[in-house]
Amino acid sequence: MALRLLSRRTLGSRILSYRASLHSHATSFGFQQVKEEEKSKLVGNVFTNVASSYDIMNDVMSAGLHRLWKERLVGKLSPFAGMKHLDVAGGTGDVAFRIFDAVNSVKRRALRKVDEASLEETQIYVCDINPNMLNVGKQRAADRGLRDNKSLVWVEGDAEALSFDDNSMDGYTIAFGIRNVTHIEKALAEAYRVLKRGGRFLCLELSHVDIPVFKELYDLYSFQVIPNLGELIAGDRDSYQYLVESVRRFPPQERFAKMIGDAGFEKVEYENLVGGVVAIHSAIKL
């Protein structure tokens, strides 16, 4: 019965959301309709609240799978020494640390001819709109002994208005962040702006499941289990309710791929992981 109620509610709000997206004065905050100006504030509150238990909640919600997803993302990126990379909405640094390790790993350096100079030129910028998340990230860097490492740079900024120069980045990643921005098109346009020619855009995001039985199970898990976990572990049911609702509101894989293409990117592809629970979209700026 809970599922039936849910589907009626989602259907109604889905119709509403499509109409709402045509006039861009209202936007979605989960299943609620809110004014645009408010969305970033509300999102900000969510992440301020969850910052300290963000990593633990990720592990619990995805049963540790989020690590594999991020590994896959970085694997696809194929980082190289001397690259300038921007990780947006990467507050706690998961993706950034993986890229750093990939570039600096001793095994990799032994296998390939890398000169020390280009190794030092590597710059990984971690940009997040929320200072609390950045602080968690900086703390984790310090724990790893990377506090003073020049390669990792923590920047506070907005995905829709980046403070970086045009054509300055070799890579751009955004992991589990793009559904939180108010105007996805702006974020994509900014990504296009800062990337160099040949630069790659990679987006890891929770996405839509179409497989019949699995879809129902996933919905059950999302709406029944996760908010309760949020309450139990992070003490914040509402933030996690927002989280699962925002996943449902995010465009499905094909439509998001089209949006990326509209921003000017070439070779837009996506890969579904776990049947569509997570999707990695990739594209190149040419």
Partner: protein
């Protein structure tokens, strides 16, 4: 017939390679190909694709397609192969030459294999062009034509010979085998086509398999050949081609031999059957084995 099939299979790769030919020719062949590639120097690749964006200003050049960029990067990477091998580093150096971020290499499927396969395609195209632009084959007997074609093709690999074993091992990876096999099949096909072979029966497969074998063994022999101008490799090649043609003769002889035997056996079998029939008819159905 084969060439149109080849073009269909290779698709855009062939057409773009015409524009880029001038960058990958080993220096010894520029004189031969100058005439045909004069008009195809490195012009800005602006006519391949229409603008895909909407509402672009007229002064922005149309966005190049990904395959084109990939071809440009791979073509530029070949210059670095002698030094860096068939590796991502060579491709990153190539991308820097073209003015594109090295990140693009991360998006090539099966990275090093992309470079090797590009090279194989380019060499095939070069071979076809050389045959078209009048490689002298008329005055030679078939076995000599085959030798000459293989020699022309293998000489294209000379600038990369120090790193060629790496290319072979890349081609042998299970993931890459389908494509490398297809490329070699097309190469062998083109060679027979150039020789003037029109067979379409079982012979077709036999011919291509045998030629494939000759080509591969010569290729591997060349890897360890130190003689000046690879003289020993060409001698080896001539011997193998002779063997192959001798093999053909031996197979023919074996066929005739089998036919003769078959005829002999057939006669005696027929005699046997006649005897059986007679026995059956005279004894009226009560047959007895008369062996």
């Amino acid at each position: 017939m084969y060439r149109t099939a080849a073009k269909r299979l290779l698709g855009a790769g062939l057409t773009t390679s015409r524009l880029l030919r001038s960058t990958i020719i080993p220096s010894s062949y520029t004189s031969n190909l100058c005439t045909s590639s004069m008009g195809h120097t490195e012009s800005p690749i602006s006519n391949q694709s229409g603008p895909t964006g909407t509402g672009e200003g007229p002064r922005r050049k149309p966005r190049p397609e990904f395959e084109e960029e990939q071809a440009r990067v791979l073509s530029a990477s070949l210059r670095h192969v002698a030094r860096l091998g068939w590796t991502e580093e060579a491709m990153m150096a190539g991308s820097r030459d073209v003015g594109v971020s090295p990140s693009i290499v991360g998006s090539f499927s099966r990275k090093e294999a992309a470079l090797v396969e590009y090279f194989m395609d380019e060499c095939l195209q070069l071979l076809v062009d050389r045959v078209d632009s009048g490689l002298d084959l008329q005055n030679l007997i078939p076995s000599e034509r085959i030798s000459k074609l293989i020699r022309v093709r293998l000489e294209m690999q000379v600038p990369y010979i120090s790193k060629w074993p790496q290319a072979l091992s890349i081609q042998a990876h299970p993931v890459n085998v389908p494509t490398s096999f297809k490329q070699r099949a097309m190469l062998v096909d083109e060679m027979w086509h150039a020789v003037g072979d029109g067979a379409s029966d079982l012979d077709w497969y036999v011919k291509r398999t045998v030629l494939g074998g000759v080509y591969s063994t010569t290729e591997i022999y060349m890897l360890t050949d130190d003689s000046p101008e690879y003289r020993e490799t060409w001698e080896f090649l001539d011997d193998r081609v002779k063997d192959a043609f001798d093999l053909k003769k031996s197979i023919q002889e074996a066929k005739y031999f089998a036919q003769d035997i078959g005829a002999g056996v057939g006669k005696s079998f027929q005699g046997l059957m006649n005897g059986v029939m007679q026995t059956m008819s005279t004894r009226g159905g009560r047959s007895s084995s008369s062996f």
